[in-house]
Symmetry: C2
Subunit: 180 residues, 2 copies
């Protein structure tokens, strides 16, 4: 976990009471629909995808690779039921860091507060970059970027997940692929 954002031994000790390690089997959920997201999830081992239903169809919003974290931003901060679902696509080991504990620690422990800020800023930068990409690149450009930056995704997940992640239909993705 510390590989992502630096944290002293003392800081880690502070977090420990609020951390739980769980094994999630392939196909099982880290976060279910309408469950409120009360943790930040570090995918220590394995692979997850974040998706939701739109007009009866699954839309993949994000993938979380090993050694990355995920959570439902709006559910977590607004403490409302999540429309996002987080599913493990492989047998995974996930570290749950509780919001309750984190909030409590942030009130008194400056190292934890800064650790949290770092995580959030990282998420903000990612969110911003994804927004730029969706708004100003064509479907083909986004697919090419994906091949370049996260080729492992294409090896791990069905193309329909990739398609909705890119914001296009399976059919369009298929046509893009034949033309490259």
């Amino acid at each position: 976990m510390r590989s992502i954002y630096p944290l002293s031994d003392a800081g880690l000790e502070l977090l420990k009471p609020f951390i739980a390690k769980k094994h999630i089997s392939k196909g099982d959920f880290i976060l279910r629909k309408d469950e409120t997201c009360r943790h930040i999830y570090f995918v220590n081992k394995g692979f997850a995808r974040i998706f939701y239903f739109k007009n009866g169809k699954e839309i993949t919003e994000w993938f979380t690779a090993e050694k990355n974290f995920c959570f439902s931003i709006t559910s977590y901060f607004e403490e409302k039921p999540s429309h996002l679902i987080i599913e493990c696509l492989e047998d995974s080991e996930v570290i749950y860091l509780s919001k309750e504990g984190l909030d409590k620690l942030c009130k008194t422990q400056i190292e934890i507060s800064n650790f949290f800020s770092k995580m959030i800023s990282g998420a903000l930068i990612l969110s911003q970059k994804r927004m730029d990409s969706i708004q100003f690149e064509t479907a083909r450009q986004r697919y090419e970027q994906l091949i370049k930056n996260q080729p492992y995704i294409l090896q791990k997940v069905p193309l329909q997940y990739v398609a909705s992640f890119l914001g296009i239909t399976s059919e369009t993705l298929s046509r893009i692929r034949t033309q490259i």
Copy 2:
């Protein structure tokens, strides 16, 4: 400034050395192209827009209304020259909060660190909502949402700014407007 995120008197005193109030005339810039964004900008009075050039055309990314803050996310966090430009569309009073000062305070002052987290999480939630809107709503739906949620924008800025903010051309916006 405190109207947005709570801050004690002591907290405000801590920030004061790193705050500067500036008057920016209509048409002048808060952040210029290729300048590194070293502040968070609170628009205390006035109105600003954030835009950049794409293929020689201005693309409006965001508007900042009175009592809101703005900054270039990637330039600020990655300390790189900004491709975003922040321009005042009215005579404005802007409070500059320096990153250097904020970073320094965050190391030792937990209230400031939490204040900063709150700002960033707010920005993250906004960014997320905008992403959803761009990816899954049609141009017309986004325009209708804009009328509903931020009607003042339509009164303040030329339609071409609104169009690029919605991610469409002026022509398309014009056609949407005639059909409502």
